[in-house]
């Protein structure tokens, strides 16, 4: 079953197939609101906060998805596999150059 993945603003929406990661779904759909980085769960430029929905994840950089605040559940879109419709908030790791 195809899941609906939406940013909290409700305007930016994409469809994600079973087994497909959210970033790959965005790339395939040609949408540009998720930045494309390493695609390996390492760099964090595609980081999001999951506000609602169920999902599975692949291995992700622990430093970037660890949160002290239980209401902020981080995931990297390149390793985020929806198992229901999802609502996301964009939360990219800040760019590292001065």
């Amino acid at each position: 079953m195809v899941h609906r993945v939406a940013l909290l603003d409700g305007e930016r929406v994409l469809r994600c197939s079973p087994g497909q990661d959210v970033l790959n779904a965005a790339i395939k759909a040609g949408v540009s609101w998720l930045p494309v980085g390493c695609r390996g769960g390492g760099c964090g430029v595609c980081r999001v906060i999951v506000r609602s929905g169920s999902y599975e994840t692949g291995r992700m950089n622990k430093r970037l998805v660890t949160s002290d605040d239980a209401s902020r559940v981080f995931a990297l879109a390149c390793k985020l596999y929806p198992t229901s419709d999802l609502e996301l908030e964009f939360a990219p790791v800040q760019r590292s150059t001065a």
Partner: protein, 305 residues
């Protein structure tokens, strides 16, 4: 001995989140040869390296670089450099022989960018798969991009100017090329130990990060072959094939399965100690990094591990 003291980038130890997936990537696609393993680590080499390894993969819960190690000509060089570091009140850690398979004692210190630099003189040399008498030109069984040897690393961090000063004065490295702002601040430095265009490079950034490691390929055609393999195997591409202004090398960048950036590189000039430093204005950084495009891609600045 014309090349003495610190000879070259000897090995890099990086962290990966899935060791089996990383070994597959680095052997089947990058074309490195696995030479050993110990608890949680895999050891690999480019085919034309005589030493036992130039890349160590360590399984961890975040990617990035543990350290980069330079090989020095003699054990006595380690003592001399350790003394010079201590004179500058820089803490030096001793790592006993055998901590890495086949490697003698190492010394380690941290540069102002926050990266750990190590030095060693001794490494087992299983060879490059060819005899040292009347050899053929390549061994059988090479895979993927057929990476030949470790070329350089590029690191992001604060205090590039101070780091460059330290590596120049204590390790004897030479700044082959640098990048300066209008007020003369050095925000990029490409340092060479001997005849490569660079063995290690730094770009100014607020946090200590690993940008990429590069292996050498013999030609532009080999870079095209790497691009073919990246497309065929759906390896995440960063940018390329293209050319650098800095070093004049030809290149393609891609990512390993944990998001560490890889490069295969060829075609740069040879450096000699009397070659003047080439300086780039920060405003020309796009051309300096990606000569054909004339500008950086967003990922080059933002994507690090």
């Amino acid at each position: 001995m014309a090349i003495d003291g610190v000879m070259r980038t000897g090995h890099v130890q990086i962290r990966v989140m899935d060791l089996a997936a990383a070994v597959h990537h680095y052997t089947e696609y990058y074309g490195l040869i696995q030479t050993g393993s110990d608890e949680g680590r895999a050891y690999l080499k480019g085919w034309d390296e005589f030493d036992s390894h130039s890349l160590v993969l360590r399984e961890a819960d975040e990617p990035g670089m543990d350290h980069v190690a330079f090989k020095v000509r003699r054990e006595a060089d380690l003592d001399r450099i350790e003394g010079e570091l201590r004179e500058r009140l820089i803490a030096v850690t001793q790592i006993p022989a055998g901590e890495q398979l086949g490697v003698g004692r190492r010394i380690a210190f941290t540069v102002p960018t926050g990266h750990r630099i190590e030095l060693y003189a001794t490494c087992e040399q299983p060879g490059n798969g060819l005899p040292t008498r009347n050899p053929d030109v390549w061994p059988d069984g090479l895979k993927g991009m057929k990476a030949t040897r470790l070329e350089h690393v590029l690191l992001y961090g604060p205090n590039v100017a101070a780091t460059t000063e330290l590596l120049s004065r204590v390790l004897g490295m030479i700044v082959a090329e640098d990048v300066v702002t209008e007020d003369g601040t050095r925000i990029g430095a490409f340092l060479t130990c001997a005849s490569k265009s660079h063995d290690i490079a730094f770009i100014e950034a607020p946090e200590t990060r690993f940008h990429h490691l590069a292996y050498w390929l013999d030609s532009w055609d080999d870079i095209r072959n790497a691009a073919d393999l990246i497309a065929k195997n759906k390896i995440p591409l960063d940018i390329g094939p293209t050319r650098h202004g800095i070093s004049r090398g030809v290149t393609i960048y891609f990512f390993d399965p944990s998001g560490n950036r890889n490069e295969v590189f060829s075609g740069s000039y040879q450096h000699y100690p009397d070659r003047p430093t080439i300086t780039w204005d920060a405003a020309e950084l796009g051309k300096a990094i990606f000569y054909y495009e004339g500008r950086l891609n967003e990922a080059f600045l933002s994507v690090t591990t």
